[in-house]
């Protein structure tokens, strides 16, 4: 064994020519079309409609959705590539576009044929936008603690509650919303009794309550959603009653690599900009790059960056191979890459000196953008739990903590 995996080959990363071409194409798009408008997006806290539309037309909202449902039929590596390239130029766009994955994945995994046929194609093709509403003001990491309720009334359900921190909730046409449909049978089984529903914008009683003003990821707004006696037919229930927790966990498992890749992109950008700056700026009659302290920072940034890169794509390859080990790998990648990115962002500010905190330099923005990546999609504290619990479960066959 090459613990915790079976053999050396389990750590392999393989790319195919189309991955490199896709990366090139996405990078060119971001450098040519997005980069020049970064200041504008940051200032207005808004991604222009034409950019969103272009990305939709490029199929970026449905990279991993199968072709038969209007998607690109791409793999996890391709998703990671998009997330990294977006993160390298403007991370908020990765969130804005990538959040559709939190909608398409659960429907792909647990939806009926009818639901798949109805909701996947428009989102995959960029014609409609979607969002995922699990989190509430009182329940983030503790998904089982949500309070939004759904009561059955004949062949309909009535939903009440309030969701918070919902990315893309302001522009979404479709939502998957997690509710509690029955009380937990015991304190130990809090995770039972949750159910997902598919909601559409405009349903009576369902509204965007307010936009939350946040630091970082400008252009990717987060909103609160209000549900006041929203009536939803049973045909909009996603998956079985009571399966909500499982569906949520599997969804987040799938999306984890995307966030890791986003952070990787941030780290990449921080390194590139810092290296560039160090080669051009002089202090005390020498270039910054000739100062040892700067070299130390740059070397540290590079080491963490390349390690993160390997983890992100290793996890992606495991996911594409259908290996269950990808769960550990994805959690490791997410925790590591986001922290590596934070390190890189802080060092970038140090290296840039005063320029680093000037708004126009977009250096300080990296730190603002990276902070949330450590928190959302399963906070890094949770990731550490997952890593060890999964490790024990998979390799040793037991779970000492219960859930």
């Amino acid at each position: 064994m090459v613990f915790p995996l079976a053999e050396l080959g389990d750590y392999a990363i393989t790319f195919r020519p189309e991955h490199e071409m896709f990366r090139k194409v996405v990078r060119e798009f971001f450098e040519k079309e997005v980069e020049p408008r970064v200041s504008e997006i940051e200032e207005n806290d808004r991604v222009p409609d034409d950019l969103l539309k272009k990305m939709g037309e490029m199929g970026l909202q449905g990279i991993a959705v199968p072709q038969e449902y209007g998607g690109q039929g791409g793999d996890q590596v391709s998703v990671a590539i998009f997330c990294e390239e977006a993160g390298r130029v403007y991370p908020a766009i990765m969130t804005l576009v990538g959040v559709n994955g939190l909608f398409t994945v659960p429907i792909m995994l647990f939806g009926t044929e009818e639901q798949k046929g109805r909701y996947l194609p428009p989102v995959a093709k960029g014609e409609k936008h979607s969002a995922h509403a699990t989190t509430e003001a009182g329940a983030g990491s503790d998904v089982a603690g949500i309070q939004t309720r759904a009561e059955r009334r004949g062949d309909r359900w009535v939903l009440n509650g309030r969701k918070a921190f919902i990315s893309g909730g302001d522009i979404a046409d479709y939502f998957v919303v997690l509710t509690r449909t029955s009380p937990p049978p015991s304190r130990k089984e809090r995770w039972k009794g949750l159910t997902f529903f598919i909601l559409e914008k405009g349903m009576r009683g369902f509204s965007v309550a307010r936009k939350m003003n946040k630091s970082g990821l400008k252009g990717s707004p987060i909103v609160e959603l209000q549900l006041d006696n929203v009536e939803v037919p049973d045909s909009n229930r996603l998956g079985n009653e009571g399966d909500g927790f499982k569906i949520a966990m599997e969804t987040f498992d799938h999306a984890r690599i995307g966030v890791a890749a986003q952070a990787l992109g941030i780290a990449q950008s921080a390194f590139e900009k810092s290296l560039n700056y160090a080669m051009q700026r002089s202090t005390f009659d020498r270039l910054l790059i000739q100062q040892q302290a700067i070299d130390n920072y740059l070397a540290d940034m590079l080491m963490k960056l390349v390690s993160a890169r390997h983890m992100v794509y290793w996890a992606s390859c495991l996911a594409d191979a259908g290996r269950k080990e990808y769960l550990i790998a994805a959690s490791m990648a997410k925790a590591y890459a986001t922290e590596a990115a934070e390190f890189a962002a802080i060092k970038a500010i140090s290296i840039h000196g005063g320029v680093g905190v000037v708004m126009d330099s977009h250096i300080e923005r990296m730190l603002r953008d990276v902070e949330i990546t450590k928190v959302y999609e399963g906070s890094n504290e949770i990731q550490r739990l997952v890593i060890i619990r999964q490790l024990l479960r998979q390799t040793l066959g037991f779970d000492p903590m219960g859930i």
Partner: protein
């Protein structure tokens, strides 16, 4: 004994070629022959004859053929037929390169375009021209019975008036034209010739709104400069005309001072600026490539720097 034939549809460029052609011909032990095309170019033919050309072939052709590169190529081929060996010089304009290409293929001759210098070395014509976005200089040698070189505008000075005039010979000519010019729209701002501007204020994507050009024009006015731009502002946004676009696919300028405002300094833009005397760059991005290619650089917001620069320059004028 090698003769030199030369042509350009642009009169200024034609006068620059005259001096070069005459010098080369003298060096090669031959004579220089200008090719001028068009019934309305009699005055041009005469002035070239007075600037040192041994002979001017004035091809009679109606106006429709005058600006036609196919006609020019055929005229040059026809003229060349009377010379057993010749160097052919064509002004390196857009149409000039079409002329040169067609002519070279018709004569089975090697060709080079956008030559910054042309020298006779033994049996070869050695040329220097820019490549790879202007970053690399290519030196090549052309040899053979006929060789074709397109010479860049302003690479050589205009010829001085000569004591004696060469002969002007009218030539009958009926070209076969495969393309027809259906309409000609003169560019309204054709008095904008940045290629000859001594001072240029150039602006790029850092400029947020078209209206802000007024501020830039104000600075240019104080400096006695012309306004140019990088490709996005003319081609993509249409805020400035094509003639203002400086770069690889735009124009090449050689001012004494070039002020690059809000321009990142990509290779394809710098290709048009590398001959500038002094380059000043103003950009908010410390890592912009232009700072590696400028004489003076300032990291700052143009919306603060430009008004301040105007203030201080105006104060300087008033002293």
């Amino acid at each position: 004994m090698v003769d030199v034939l030369f042509y350009s549809e642009d009169d200024e460029l034609l006068h620059e070629l005259t001096g070069l052609a005459t010098a080369l011909a003298a060096q090669a032990g031959g004579r220089s022959f200008a090719v001028v095309l068009g019934d309305d170019k009699v005055a041009t033919a005469s002035s070239v004859a007075w600037e040192g050309a041994s002979e001017v072939y004035l091809f009679r052709a109606p106006a429709v053929a005058r600006d036609h590169p196919e006609a020019a190529a055929q005229a040059l081929a026809q003229a060349t037929a009377d010379h057993s060996t010749a160097i052919l010089l064509v002004g390196s304009t857009k149409d000039g390169k079409v002329v040169a290409g067609r002519l070279a293929a018709a004569l089975g001759a090697p060709a080079a375009s956008d030559c910054a210098s042309v020298q006779l070395q033994g049996e070869e014509l050695v040329v220097e021209r820019p490549s790879y976005g202007g970053r690399v200089k290519t030196r090549a040698a052309l040899s053979g019975r006929y060789v074709v070189a397109c010479v860049k505008p302003r690479a050589y000075p205009r010829a001085a008036r000569s004591a004696t005039a060469g002969k002007v010979t009218e030539v009958e000519f009926s070209p076969t034209l495969l393309t027809s010019i259906v309409e000609v729209k003169e560019r309204p701002s054709s008095n904008l010739d940045l290629t000859r501007a001594e001072r240029i204020v150039s602006v790029g994507r850092g400029l947020k709104k078209k209206e802000d050009l007024l501020m830039i024009q104000g600075l240019a006015d104080i400096m006695g400069a012309s306004v140019g731009c990088s490709r996005p502002l003319s081609a993509d946004l249409g805020w400035l005309p094509e003639e203002a676009h400086i770069g690889l696919t735009g124009i090449e300028v050689r001012p004494k001072i070039y002020l690059a405002i809000g321009i990142s300094g990509q290779l394809q833009h710098m290709a048009g600026v590398k001959e500038a005397g002094t380059i000043v760059a103003i950009n908010t991005d410390k890592g912009a490539p232009i700072f590696a290619n400028c004489d003076y650089g300032m990291v700052g917001d143009l919306y603060q720097v430009v008004p301040e620069l105007k203030r201080q320059l105006a104060a300087l004028k008033n002293k």
